[in-house]
Symmetry: C2
Subunit: 506 residues, 2 copies
């Protein structure tokens, strides 16, 4: 506690960065529903039809065995699995409607599901980009800097699984270096790399060590949230199936996210893409529940469309927005927590990058998203993690968090006396009602420029991208590593060393 309050002072200290304090966010407003109840049901029925009659190709033998034992119709020659709708709905119903994800700093645990909302930093891009050094293959030290920034930004609830791939590290053990840094450099919940059984087991072992939990405790208090992508259309590959099975076995959260890009990996019509997404997501969640009934599972939606001129993926589009809100309706139909994302196709931190991110962010939040992955830092259709975009997005997320605090309507806030005191044609600057409240009355941005044009111009006419560059460098300079019990740190280092020396993941 003492440490936390020091941290808070730091965040508001030398860098001049006044942040909203860490807090869990609740969305109190009605959702936008872009589908009628009948349409939701029609899409549901189409996806049941898909699962029963067309099925999924499941490339992992063990996964097919698990599904066969659960009652699915499995053909091992074609590796096709067909799912009876009763089987699917019965399994999906076992997933909890909400649960808590744990962090090594318990003050940074957060709830997932219901009316809760959490924000995750970007994960997985190949490149990084900043204004000084341009777009490049980032090195491990750059990735660690990104982790430090994610730790420093209080609006981010979850680290997104490594902002970009440091390819100078050996591919087989890179995830171990990442996990160790995620644990050391942040005290927040972090995403594992769920590609393959070993990487998943390493994450589970290291999370357990970091939290000082037994395997049973970790299952009761999940700390990992693994993104499992289907290989749309209608296929689950071996590494993803392994990751899913390991995570579910350990009682960790699995977020099944079909990669349904309409026009390429899914039909060119949104209804068809949603039916396919729904079928694939529920098939994955059925497998999760076949592995371990009651394991936390999240409905992941990532539906967007291709650009039909270039064939490139397009993000933050009107189609993306509609699909996100329709996906929220589908997830709620099954009482599953709903994952969405904040995305853009822009190659630079310009006006496009934020009108597309805002399109997806508003759609996701007003569509009832419980967790928004890639909510800070994503650029270039997910190929790049940007240092400046991280700061820009953090400001946008703070604005959304503040928007979600309902208007307080009380005799004091209705302020009829203050209105009388100001008088007709008067002003409220000096009124006592203003004086006692002005310091905390309104959201105070850390990036947005509100000085007039002349003052701003004299100060160098910096646009948002340039200001964001200054802010992340200042945050890095003031970063302090969150304390970690030396015994735990040593046990984690030992684990990584043993694994690098060739020991198998236990």
């Amino acid at each position: 506690m003492a440490r936390r309050s020091r941290d808070t002072r730091r965040d508001r200290g030398g860098s001049g960065l006044r942040q909203l304090p860490w807090r869990s966010i609740v969305n109190p407003y009605p959702h936008i529903e872009v589908l009628s109840a009948d349409q939701v049901e029609t899409i549901h029925l189409a996806s049941m039809d898909l699962l029963e009659n067309q099925g999924m190709r499941v490339l992992h033998d063990g996964a097919r065995d698990l599904l066969a034992r659960a009652g699915a119709d499995v053909d091992n020659d074609s590796r096709m699995v067909r799912f009876d709708r009763g089987l699917v709905l019965e399994h999906v119903a076992r997933a909890p409607a909400e649960f808590t994800l744990h962090a090594r700093n318990p003050a940074k645990n957060f709830r997932l599901g219901g009316r809760h909302l959490a924000f995750t930093s970007v994960g997985g891009p190949a490149y990084c980009n900043d204004l000084d050094r341009g777009r490049r293959r980032g090195r491990f030290e750059d990735a660690c800097d990104y982790l430090r920034l994610v730790q420093s930004l209080d609006i981010i609830h979850q680290e997104g699984g490594g902002a970009f791939e440091p390819i100078e590290l050996p591919a087989e053990t890179r995830h171990l270096d990442l996990y160790l840094s995620q644990i050391r450099l942040t005290d927040k919940n972090w995403q594992p790399v769920a590609l393959g059984g070993e990487r998943a087991r390493d994450a589970i072992n290291m999370a357990r060590i970091a939290l000082g939990f037994t395997a049973e405790e970790l299952a009761a208090k999940p700390a990992l949230f693994a993104i499992i992508n289907t290989n749309s259309p209608r296929q689950l590959d071996v590494p993803m199936a392994e990751g899913l099975i390991e995570m579910a076995s350990a009682g960790q959260a699995v977020c099944v996210t079909p990669f349904t890009l309409a026009g390429a990996m899914a039909p060119v019509t949104l209804a068809g893409t949603l039916a396919q997404q729904n079928a694939e997501a529920l098939a994955g969640i059925t497998l999760v529940q076949a592995v371990r009934p009651g394991a936390p599972a999240v409905y992941g939606a990532f539906t967007s469309n291709v650009d039909m001129r270039s064939g490139s993926p397009a993000f933050g589009t009107p189609e993306y927005a509609k699909a996100a809100q329709a996906s929220g309706q589908l997830a709620r139909r099954y009482s599953l927590p709903f994952r969405s994302s904040s995305v853009t196709s822009s190659n630079v931190v310009d006006a496009q990058s934020t009108y597309e991110s805002a399109m997806s962010l508003w759609a996701a939040i007003s569509g009832g998203a419980n967790i928004i992955v890639h909510a800070a830092g994503w650029l270039e259709s997910g190929l790049t993690a940007s240092f400046e975009k991280l700061i820009v997005d953090a400001e946008m997320l703070q604005m959304m968090a503040e928007y979600l605090r309902p208007i307080e309507v009380t005799p004091e806030t209705l302020a009829l006396d203050a209105i009388a005191e100001a008088g007709p044609g008067g002003h409220f600057f000096g009124v006592s009602h203003t004086m006692s409240r002005y310091q905390s009355a309104f959201y105070e941005p850390f990036l947005s420029e509100r000085r007039n044009f002349e003052t701003w111009q004299e100060a160098g006419a910096e646009d948002a991208q340039v200001r964001a560059n200054r802010i992340w460098k200042s945050l890095l300079k003031e970063y302090r590593q969150p304390p970690l019990d030396p015994a735990i740190d040593e046990e984690l280092a030992d684990y990584v060393n043993r694994r690098k020396a060739g020991a198998a993941a236990p």
Copy 2:
């Protein structure tokens, strides 16, 4: 009609600018309501209390007379008017819930109210700005170029009353030059300058000539939409009252928009600001109905907050978003059409400019706005009309229009056969369902960049602002003035010449 189809071909022709065709927009989705029904009622009651006990200062003698005759309690010494709630509600109820605004091209008439949504270009700034010439006092020829662009952008339903002030023209007759250009250079509905009786009468006379209407026809088919700002708190000045009375007398639409900047011209708490906004808006609409029962009136909301560090107005803030949605609830409580805006405090067309505009645009639309004023071109808290921002905003408006087209759920769009045809792990590019639909399946942007980083970089690495600059210049080059009956043109020119020569506005 032949002309219109030529126009459409032009828009998709040489400039490469593929726009959505002009269309009226309907918002089919549920509104976000940030207030409970009880809270709406509490704010309503507080505003009734304000009107009954504190009242409004009305500086115009004739307006006070009209209100006294309607039954309000008028004190001519203090110029204070107190309104009984029964009087207010009875008058407000006379305003139509929806109506049509007429344009000289009848294909560009649009509905206001209900589920309809219209977009207006920026109006009223002091400066203009473009990437080539920077921020400056714009000249009349620049303002005409802005009108040409507003005409060229099909997503804009209404011209916003002159994008900026051409101060080289004499202040007394500048509005005449503006009106003539609005009519000649566009065939859309345009906003008048409602500051003072003469300017209002000139607009009414010239609109009547442009449409070939008698005064009675104009009253039955309103063509003018006048923004009337109260001088918050609780004051209506002489020029605004004159404008209101002239417009209402002629049966033209009056949009009463209190300028309630929380912390400066309204309480520092949103509930109080909303109560004050509601009182001022309803007082203005009561006056409209006292002038001419049944005249179209619009509930205007512009509530934002000051930045408490600088005292500057701040736009596109979380407070702005909440207030916009609460205002929609209040407007609907009285069955009045609801006007909101798309706004930003940024001084440059950067990431901030669009995350703030998107914040206000999403809030307004999901809050049920019927008309969004300043929806294209606004910059710098309204001090500047930007040529590049006009293009960026037009793209954002097109995206919102496309988002508002509901997902079609039919056996054909559910595409189960196409999913079978693609097969597990396959792709949809060559599937017949895709081939027959891909050209029109998804929204096609005119500004957003979707090429990959390398291609984009080789092509010059232009950000959205630079691309917008190219687009508006290309639109200007291809602009063609919409035909106007020469007799009408001559009558308008005569009117302007006679008025400039000193004749009084009839």
